[in-house]
């Protein structure tokens, strides 16, 4: 994949990500998160992981982002209070995260990842085989966690029953 395409996608994702963490209006920040997720999905396609790109759009943009926007609308009355500042400790946080970025970039700058003949892209049927053979235990554990998370979320967020306390 050409560097120009990756660079354009990187600029798009970075600008949206900056919006996600800096916009005062949380609703707009959530919509910018949708842009970030779409950009990362496009990067997945550029990395020849088309199935993951579809999963990303389906699960992240389709489900998680909808849920987040739903929650933002449910709690919208309190977040528009002008006396509440959107952020705190901006300068130390910016310094800390820039230092972290410098550390990560310095740590991986000497890394030679690209092999001389690029290896063939992983195939989708290989991914399926791997998921139900070597990774079958984590796969089942993830499905167990999903069920537990959904049941737990319902138990936490459901209104209390009207039964009198014993």
């Amino acid at each position: 994949m050409s560097v120009a395409v990756i660079g354009a996608l990187a600029v798009f994702v970075l600008v949206s990500a900056v919006w996600v963490v800096t916009l005062h209006n949380l609703f707009r920040a959530a919509l910018s998160l949708g842009l970030v997720l779409l950009g990362v999905a496009a990067l997945f396609i550029a990395l020849e992981a088309e199935f993951l790109a579809f999963v990303q759009i389906l699960v992240y943009v389709g489900a998680i982002l909808t849920l987040v926007i739903f929650a933002i609308m449910l709690t919208a009355r309190l977040q528009t209070d002008p006396s509440v500042s959107a952020g705190r400790q901006r300068l130390p946080a910016a310094v800390a995260s820039l230092a972290l970025f410098g550390l990560l970039a310095a740590g991986t700058s000497g890394l030679v990842i690209d092999r001389a003949p690029p290896p063939p892209a992983p195939r989708l049927d290989a991914l399926g085989q791997r998921l139900v053979k070597e990774f079958v235990l984590p796969f089942e554990v993830v499905s167990l966690i999903l069920v537990g998370a959904v049941v737990g979320a319902i138990a936490v967020a459901a209104p209390r029953s009207k039964r009198p306390a014993p």
Binding site: A17, V21, F44, L52, I64, A86, L104, A121, A153
Partner: protein, 100 residues
């Protein structure tokens, strides 16, 4: 600069932006958005290295990351909604009811 190292730098930047959001946001849902940024950076890294080494394991782990991110968002939003309903609180640093 090759496409691989450019993507690696992008995932570093996404991760650090997520950390910045975690440090500065006060709204609990804003914290969740930052966590999603961090998880996406990790998934991007896994896919990138899996592609670079020609193995399918990176995509499998990225799939697990997306599933666990869904769990995390569901539970986090349930807690936030419950907190909002019982105490009218949406800012993470206001939830001090358990302070002794």
């Amino acid at each position: 600069m090759t496409a691989t190292s450019l993507t690696l730098l992008l995932s570093h930047a996404l991760f650090c932006l997520g950390v910045y959001g975690l440090l500065t946001r006060r709204h609990a849902i804003g914290l969740l958005l930052s966590i999603e940024l961090i998880l996406n950076a990790a998934a991007l890294n896994f896919v990138l290295f899996g592609r670079a080494f020609g193995t399918v394991d990176g995509q499998a782990v990225a799939l697990f990351i997306i599933a666990l991110a869904a769990c995390e968002a569901v539970v986090g939003l349930a807690v936030i909604l419950s907190l909002y309903r019982t105490a009218k609180i949406v800012l993470a640093d206001q939830a001090t009811m358990l302070r002794g």
